[in-house]
């Protein structure tokens, strides 16, 4: 991926993420989240991971944030509902952010950012990803789907109770 392109995209992504946190209007925040997810998916395309990029849009931007928007709209959250936390909340967020940054720096320092080697054939293609998923990671893959099924059953059970 072109270095300049990456820097521009990364800067835009960070701007989007800041928008999620800093906008006071919840709908604007949700939209900033969509923009961030979209830019992340563009970054995935730059890493030759087209399938991951498209799945990112379908699952997160296309389904989950739409549900967020639904909740925001139907609960009629107005701008004044949201206040940017008290002193303790800001302090806790700062401490958490700093700890995460320290972790990231520690993790990246060990890695050598040399030129990228040649990719194995079929890298990022659907077939190779599916092959990995259904051989090496079969157990975790299937367990995740059971987890999602449990969540669906739980949601249905909760909705049924109210009748």
């Amino acid at each position: 991926m072109n270095q300049l392109l990456f820097l521009v995209l990364a800067a835009l992504t960070v701007l989007g993420a800041l928008g999620v946190v800093l906008r006071t209007n919840p709908v604007h925040s949700a939209l900033a989240l969509v923009a961030t997810l979209f830019l992340l998916s563009v970054l995935f395309v730059g890493l030759d991971a087209q399938l991951v990029a498209v799945l990112q849009i379908i699952v997160y931007a296309g389904a989950i944030v739409v549900l967020f928007l639904f909740v925001i709209m139907l609960l009629n959250l107005q701008t004044d509902v949201r206040v940017l936390g008290g002193g303790t909340l800001v302090a806790a967020a700062l401490a958490g952010g700093l700890a995460l940054a320290a972790l990231l720096v520690a993790a990246v320092r060990g890695a050598s950012p040399g030129p990228r080697g040649a990719l194995p054939a079929g890298f990022g293609a659907t077939v190779s990803l599916a092959h990995k998923l259904f051989t090496d990671y079969l157990l975790s893959f299937e367990l995740t789907s059971i987890l999602l099924l449990v969540a669906v059953v739980g949601a249905v059970a909760l909705a049924q109770k109210k009748r």
């Binding site: 604007h28 939209l31 399938l51 849009i57 379908i58 296309g62 389904a63 928007l69």
Partner: protein, 365 residues
């Protein structure tokens, strides 16, 4: 540099095909509605007394009229989102056409150019992703307008679009199982084969149920009658785009019609052979009797693009006929059709297709 120019030219051709089909579609809509309602219609738009030239009116004068109208932004709307919503509703649909192949290959000056604007390994998923993004336009238009009719229309519209996207996705899964690829161009090429030596192996023969489900879900996505509850003039004024005028209103109307053309393009590509002309191979016609008609490569490509455009027009016309034939659903009927009709049907279709492929087509390992 040449590569960039080629991609730009391909994109331009795709956009021209879409806009032309859309313009013709609007003209068909007027004529078809007149025929179905047993009246004479659209006969004042003739130019120099030639009625057929009236099509210029729908292609040029209509959009121009919308562009020249005053753009009214009501007070107390969220200005940024009010402006963004129409863009977000039409843009994802237009870019979806990038993966729809409109021809095989064009051989020019030693280069062979794949006639598909974006050769994407994950074309089918890209279609689903972009169709899913179109929901935002509807939701934001309704919310930003600060109007109860708009909000009701937006909630109806987004619930409807999300519900029918699921059936649409499952119908696509059955197609992907059949062709074992996510690339639309490969799917179209596979449909060039012949069954028993004479019947073109178009997708509708393998996946008739997926075709019915996909077409129905697609019409629901376009939010036109019989699925026009998000707009329903008789109860919600104009639904989620009540507060829009001028060019922005045009963009919402356009997005519904682009969706019609998109559904026509996808149905053509997935189920009716895309650009395939029966018995036409890269070097000319090879009829089942054994007779052949050799053709230059340029003529073959031209015929293919023409076939694609013709099929596109046919399925646009079919959707217009459906739109003027059926009355509007009730909302509970709409939800029942989506969740209790199409969803189980498409699920059963996926399971049945997988069974056939694993147990009947594959030799036992």
């Amino acid at each position: 540099m040449v590569d960039v120019a080629i991609v730009a030219a391909k994109a331009l051709v795709v956009v021209l095909i879409v806009l032309l089909t859309m313009g013709h579609g609007v003209f068909f809509e007027r004529k078809v509605s007149a025929i179905i309602q047993d009246r004479i219609g659209a006969n004042r738009a003739s130019i120099f007394g030639v009625a057929a030239l009236g099509i210029i009116n729908t292609l040029v004068a209509d959009p121009l009229k919308f562009l020249l109208k005053e753009d009214i932004v009501p007070a107390n709307v969220d200005r940024l989102l009010h402006f963004l919503a129409p863009v977000l509703s039409v843009l994802p649909l237009l870019v979806t056409f990038a993966v729809v192949p409109f021809g095989d290959v064009l051989v020019v000056g030693g280069r062979s150019i794949d006639l598909q604007a974006a050769e994407l390994d994950v074309g089918v998923l890209y279609v689903l992703a972009m169709v899913a993004m179109a929901v935002y336009g509807v939701v934001l238009a309704g919310w930003a307008s600060n109007n109860r009719w708009s909000l009701l229309g937006a909630v109806r519209g987004s619930a409807q679009m999300i519900s029918y996207e699921i059936a649409m996705g499952l119908a696509l899964i059955a197609v992907v199982l059949t062709y074992e690829t996510l690339d639309l161009q490969t799917i179209v090429r596979a449909q060039g084969a012949l069954l028993w030596g004479w019947l073109p192996a178009w997708g509708v023969l393998y996946q008739p149920l997926a075709f019915v489900v996909f077409m129905t879900a697609g019409i629901a996505e376009s939010k036109r009658i019989p699925f026009d509850l998000p707009e329903s003039e008789s109860e919600l004024v104009s639904g989620y785009f009540t507060e829009y005028s001028g060019a922005k209103h045009l963009m919402f109307m356009m997005s519904d019609f682009v969706e019609v053309v998109l559904v026509a393009a996808l149905v053509t590509t997935l189920f009716f052979g895309g650009w395939q002309v029966p018995y036409l191979l890269r070097d000319g016609f090879h009829f089942p009797g054994g007779s052949t008609v050799p053709l230059p490569s340029l003529a073959v490509t031209g015929l293919q693009v023409l076939a694609f455009v013709l099929k596109l027009h046919c399925f646009t016309l079919l959707q217009i006929v459906i739109r003027w034939t059926l009355p509007r659903f009730r909302y509970d009927q709409l939800m029942r059709l989506g969740w209790q009709g199409l969803l189980p049907l498409s699920l059963a279709n996926v399971v049945a297709s997988a069974f056939v492929i694993v147990f009947l087509q594959r030799p036992a390992a």
